[in-house]
């Protein structure tokens, strides 16, 4: 979620980025020392991550999706994917999984702690952890989060998740750590989460300004990093999002556009909403293709994969397990197609976007299956044209730069002509 690799972060560093890098460095130090310190780790997923619950047990979260995207940014995933495919993993399946498996087969340490299978919004998660369990014989706690097929969370769904927290997840954490569930500590963590979430939402909604001070897709993967990964509920996260908000407020005061790989965007020409995960192998190149056109993402759905906060949800310390259930049920990949279409249409209007871009990722049926229908529906409802490109997450074979560049260039030309036509 948060590509913390120096080469990938924007040209100049804001205070919040330095703070985030330090937070992540400290977290990796704790992970590296876990064997000696006896700290327990839990492998889990960004969507539906129960970070506060893990931290209340002093369990360190490890997020294999983030390992995979970071490997992609370091140019390692072609090799990892090839290794996994050699072991019989099909070329048709998710490249996060193959990158993770290939990484471990290339001499990296496999998971040692608990596999917390937060089964939210993606079928592949179940197979991913079954594969890891078979290989590394780790204990697994399964949390099945039912799908919002009808666009709402029912009592039956919430009760089911809470019951599993009580009867499956918490007992497994108690067993793995030898400690008792501490609800007061969990409440304290959840209260801090809500504070950080308020500031994150402020930052994301700052893109309603013209010009937008942030890029809500490429830039947002840095901003959501702490809250989507190991830090939601920590004082570090509270401080990070307070500092980030102050920085963005400063950019608005100065009338600055967003940070881009080549420094601040001089002139915002096009405001777009983006649907779908980014490509990580050519992340900077992909970002530059838009930034060079003066195109800024003002809202994105990928920045909601680890939780949808801008529709009002906040973690509620007064109902700890219910709020964790509500959070899991509300992640973007757990939303129905009609709900996703409503949200995208709303973003196009509320953020005064000129159009929207769907980056359809080959690996991910959860996002991709139905995106062509989303394209047509959002165009019809918003009256704004959509662009549709196809890439992959971490398999460099599926990022055809020339093709994507051509498509984006012709799309922005079309937007420009529409604008000229409208003003003449």
């Amino acid at each position: 979620m948060s590509p913390t690799v120096a080469t990938a972060s924007p040209a100049q560093k804001d205070g919040s980025q330095i703070r985030q890098k330090e937070m992540i460095a400290r977290h990796f130090d704790r992970l590296a020392a876990a064997a000696e310190t006896g700290a327990k780790c839990a492998y889990t997923f960004v969507p539906g991550n129960l970070t506060e619950l893990l931290l209340s047990f002093d369990v360190l979260p490890v997020l294999p999706e983030i390992n995979a995207l970071q490997s992609a940014m370091r140019g390692k995933t072609a090799e990892y994917i090839a290794a996994a495919e050699k072991l019989g993993h099909s070329e048709d399946v998710c490249t996060y999984v193959k990158s993770d498996i290939g990484m471990m087969k290339s001499g990296n340490v496999g998971p040692t702690g608990l596999l917390l299978l937060s089964y939210t919004g993606c079928f592949t998660f179940m197979k991913w952890f079954e594969l890891l369990r078979e290989e590394y014989h780790c204990p697994v706690a399964m949390l099945h989060v039912p799908y919002q097929a009808d666009g709402r969370i029912t009592d039956t769904m919430r009760t089911y998740v809470v019951d599993q927290l009580k009867t499956a997840v918490i007992p497994k954490l108690e067993e793995v750590t030898g400690r008792k569930y501490d609800e007061d500590r969990l409440r304290a963590l959840l209260a801090r989460s809500a504070q950080a979430e308020d500031n994150l939402v402020w930052v994301l909604q700052s893109a309603k300004n013209i010009p937008s001070p942030i890029d809500a897709y490429f830039g947002a993967v840095y901003y959501v990093g702490p809250i989507f990964s190991a830090f939601r509920g920590t004082t570090d996260a509270v401080d990070y999002y307070r500092e980030l908000r102050e920085e963005i407020a400063g950019r608005i005061r100065d009338g600055k556009g967003p940070v881009t790989p080549d420094g601040d965007m001089e002139r915002e020409r096009f405001r777009i909403v983006v649907e779908g995960p980014p490509n990580w192998t050519n992340f900077r190149q992909f970002w530059k293709m838009l930034a060079d056109e003066g195109a800024v993402a003002v809202a994105s759905t990928y920045s909601k994969v680890g939780g949808v906060y801008d529709l009002g949800f906040r973690h509620d310390p007064d109902h700890p397990l219910e709020t964790l259930a509500e959070y899991c049920l509300g992640c973007y990949t757990n939303l129905s197609l009609p709900t996703r279409i409503d949200l995208l249409t709303r973003y196009v209007s509320e953020y005064r976007a000129d159009g929207f871009l769907i980056n359809s990722v080959k690996s991910c049926n959860s996002f991709s299956a139905g995106q062509l229908h989303i394209l047509r529906e959002v165009e019809a409802r918003s009256g704004r044209p959509g662009a549709f490109i196809e890439t992959d997450l971490v398999d460099p074979r599926y990022f055809s730069a020339a093709n994507i560049k051509n498509r984006l260039e012709s799309y922005f030309q079309m937007l420009e002509q529409k604008r000229i036509g409208a003003s003449s």
Binding site: G88, D92, L131, D163, L337
Partner: protein
């Protein structure tokens, strides 16, 4: 179905009828049933739904399994990128071209993200049709996953009633469970006969009968299975051949073209175990009678369902089920036969391969699409595989 079926005219006639039902892509049979009974017809996608519940409310459950190779996809391709399996495309085509107009509802079992997202598209394309996403539990504790599944089935029953179906009663559900127990028992018997004497039950023929049954009310599918079982058991004109006994795995959703199944058999394989049309065998034994029938239906799913790749194996060992099926069927080889881009089958396959290797059984793998028309490569691959099995088993 071309070629001589059997010397028994009764069997030939039965297979011809099953074949015409299998080819009835326009669901004429369903329309006739609705006209005759005034009941509702509710479609369901793979793999499994509790048909007893629909039947108990006077509904005709209709198994939808995508399109055959001769279905021309005109609109369906506009909904899916090239790297998504074919089934949703043909399903949408059959929806948009009016074929499924006779369906008052469609159930979408939670087997993968493609079917999951398709339920959202169906809501938008066919707002008058009842759409229900059956979020089958991955927690198998009665008080947790069982309670959740029961509440989901109860809400489905209410929705069907609001749509015009009969109210669900314990009495009607008990009766439906009994009927489907018999239906499943006969399918188990057919599979047992095929394990014992595979020459009597050619898979391409059994397959057509299983698919035909998806369009029939249980009151008609059961006699069809019974008659087919009696006729093939008695038919002495079918003689053993020197074929390799294989288990086919991975074809539980998007279906292989019938011609592919025939190709495997002509390449020297007796298919003695498979996961085709798994709704007929998803619950592995009789659902007990008596007591609270809804609780029995829920318990059957929690404790007695197939270890499908779409089902989380919490406490057991991944692949154990495949090892048992290999031992139980006497299969000498495994054909991993999965649809392209099928997440459940292809993500599961490395673990299934390990199970085959633990069992010491050779395997080979290939992919297909429901509209594949070319089987030359598969024919050679399956033929070489079958020859190698026969060579070694003969050695």
């Amino acid at each position: 179905m071309a070629g001589r079926v059997s010397e028994d005219p009764g069997l030939t006639a039965l297979v011809a009828r099953a074949d015409s039902l299998f080819r009835d892509q326009a669901l004429a049979t369903v329309r006739e049933w609705k006209a005759r009974t005034g009941g509702l017809a509710v479609g369901f996608l793979p793999i499994y739904v509790p048909r007893e519940l629909l039947h108990a409310q006077g509904i005709l459950p209709v198994g939808l399994m995508g399109g055959r190779p001769d279905l021309e996809i005109i609109k369906g391709d506009a909904y899916y990128q090239s790297y998504i399996c074919h089934l949703p495309r043909s399903t949408i085509e059959l929806g948009l071209n009016g074929t499924y107009a006779a369906l008052d509802g469609v159930l979408f079992p939670s087997i993968c993200d493609v079917i999951r997202n398709l339920s959202g598209i169906w809501q938008m394309l066919f707002p008058k049709v009842l759409v229900h996403y059956l979020d089958v539990p991955q927690n198998f504790e009665p008080a947790v996953g069982g309670a959740f599944y029961r509440r989901d089935l109860e809400s489905l029953a209410r929705a069907l009633e609001a749509k015009g179906a009969r109210p669900l009663t314990d009495e009607s559900l008990c009766h439906s469970i009994a009927l489907y127990n018999e239906d499943r028992r006969l399918v188990r018997e057919l599979y047992a006969l095929r394990r014992r004497e595979p020459w009597k039950v050619p898979t391409h023929e059994l397959y057509v009968v299983l698919r035909a049954a998806l369009l029939l009310p249980v009151e008609e599918s059961t006699p069809l299975f019974a008659e087919y079982l009696a006729l093939v058991s008695a038919d002495e004109s079918r003689r053993p051949q020197d074929q390799a006994r294989v288990l086919v795995a991975g074809s539980f959703c998007e279906q292989p073209p019938l011609a592919l199944i025939k190709t495997l058999e002509r390449s020297g394989c007796y298919i003695v175990e498979d996961d085709f049309v798994q709704v007929h065998r998803f619950i592995r034994s009789d659902i007990p009678a008596g007591g609270d029938p809804m609780e029995r239906l829920v318990t059957a799913l929690l404790t007695d369902a197939v270890a499908s790749p779409t089902r989380y194996i919490g406490n057991g060992v991944k692949g154990e089920d495949l090892e048992q099926r290999l031992a139980g069927s006497g299969a000498e080889g495994v054909l991993f036969c999965a649809p392209s881009f099928c997440d459940p089958a292809l993500l599961d396959q490395p673990m299934a391969v390990r199970a085959a290797e633990r069992a010491g059984v050779p395997w080979t793998a290939f992919k297909y699409a429901e509209n594949s028309g070319q089987f030359q490569v598969i024919r050679e691959q399956a033929g070489t595989f079958a020859d190698s099995i026969k060579l070694w088993s003969g050695a």
